[in-house]
C-alpha cells in the first residue's frame, strides 16, 4: 500500500493490509454475517428437525437452540472486550494533567460523556467512533451495525486519558488509516455488542447510535 499525503505513518508497519475504506467495511460485515450463519444455521435445522421427527426430543432441540444463541454472543463478547473497563488506577497527578488535555481535544458533550463512560465519541466519515484506552468501537451509519478494534499506543506507561488522546489524534489524522492499523475484532449487530458492554459504557454506545442518526457533527475526522 503506497503512503499517501496525510496517511498515518504507522501504516508502513502493516503494509500488507488493504486500506479499511467504506467498501472494505461492508465486505467485513457480509463475511461476518455469513460466518455467523454458517455456525448457527445447522443448529437451527437440527433443532427443528428433532422436534419434527420426535416431539419428545424437544430438550435436545432446546440445547441446539441454546448453542445457536451462544455462538454469536461469544463473538460479541470478544468484540466488546476491546472497551472493557480496565482496573482503575485512580486520577493521580499525571492522569489529572492528561484529563485536562483530553478535555481540550473533545467538545463539551463528548467531554462529559467521556468522563461518565470512559469512552470518547468522535464522528467520522465511516460512522461514529467510541475510543477507549485500548480499543475503539465504530457504529456504522444508521446505528444497526458496529465494528470493534484492538488498538493502543506503543508506549505502555501513559496515563489512561493520554492513551485515549493518542488514539483520538491518530483517528483525526487519518480515519481509514486508523481502522487499517487497528486489529479488527468484531463486526455485527450493535444490540448484540451493547449486551456485552459494561453498564457504565452503554450510555456511550447509545449516544453513538443516536449520533449516527443525526447529521450535525460536533467534530469530524479530517
Amino acid at each position: 500500500m503506497a503512503a499517501s499525503p496525510g496517511a498515518l505513518p504507522e501504516l508502513e508497519a502493516v503494509a500488507w493490509r488493504r486500506r479499511a475504506d467504506e467498501r472494505a467495511l461492508v465486505l467485513r460485515e457480509r463475511i461476518s454475517a455469513a460466518y455467523t450463519a454458517l455456525y448457527v444455521t445447522p443448529l437451527l435445522v437440527v433443532a427443528g428437525a428433532l422436534v419434527w421427527l420426535e416431539p419428545f426430543l424437544f430438550p435436545v432441540s432446546l440445547l441446539a437452540l441454546a448453542h445457536a444463541w451462544v455462538i454469536p454472543e461469544l463473538f460479541a463478547n470478544r468484540g466488546a472486550g476491546v472497551v472493557r473497563v480496565p482496573r482503575r488506577r485512580g486520577a493521580d497527578g499525571p492522569e489529572r494533567v492528561a484529563q485536562g488535555l483530553l478535555g481540550d481535544l473533545l467538545g463539551h458533550e463528548a467531554r462529559e460523556l467521556q468522563r461518565r463512560t470512559g469512552l470518547a465519541l468522535e464522528r467520522g466519515r465511516l460512522g461514529v467512533w467510541l475510543v477507549g484506552e485500548a480499543g475503539a468501537l465504530l457504529v456504522r451509519p444508521g446505528g444497526r451495525r458496529a465494528h470493534t478494534y484492538c488498538v493502543r499506543p506503543a508506549e505502555d506507561d501513559l496515563p489512561p486519558s493520554d492513551r485515549i488522546a493518542h488514539l483520538l489524534l491518530a483517528l483525526r489524522e487519518d480515519e481509514e488509516g486508523f481502522a487499517t492499523v487497528a486489529n479488527h475484532a468484531f463486526a455485527g449487530a450493535t444490540w448484540r455488542i451493547r449486551r456485552r458492554l459494561a453498564p457504565v459504557r452503554r450510555p456511550a454506545l447509545d449516544a453513538a447510535v443516536a449520533a449516527t442518526r443525526t447529521g450535525s457533527p460536533e467534530r469530524s475526522c479530517s
Binding site: L8, A98, G135, A165, H166, R172
Partner: protein
C-alpha cells in the same frame, strides 16, 4: 502564542512556546521538535479549520502541536 506539547507519562509536558513573528523562539522550538521526531515521537498540528494534520516540520502559525507515540494494533 503557539505551544509544543509532548504527551508522556507525566500527562503532558510543554517543551516550547513561540510567536509567529519571533524567529528566535520559533527556531528553538523547531530544533526541539526535530529532536523529538528523531526520538520516535510524531507531530500532530491543530490547524485553523479545527482539523488535525501529521507534520514533519514545525508549522509557525498554529495554536499548538502535539507530540504522540505511534499506535499499534492490540
Amino acid at each position: 502564542m503557539s505551544r509544543l506539547l509532548r504527551m508522556d507519562r507525566t500527562g503532558h509536558t510543554e517543551l516550547a512556546a513561540w510567536n509567529a513573528g519571533d524567529t528566535g523562539s520559533y527556531e528553538r522550538a523547531a530544533t526541539i521538535f526535530d529532536e523529538q521526531l528523531a526520538g520516535g515521537y510524531m507531530g500532530v498540528a491543530k490547524l485553523h479549520d479545527e482539523s488535525w494534520e501529521q507534520v514533519k516540520r514545525l508549522p509557525a502559525e498554529v495554536e499548538y502541536v502535539l507530540l504522540r507515540r505511534p499506535i499499534v494494533g492490540g
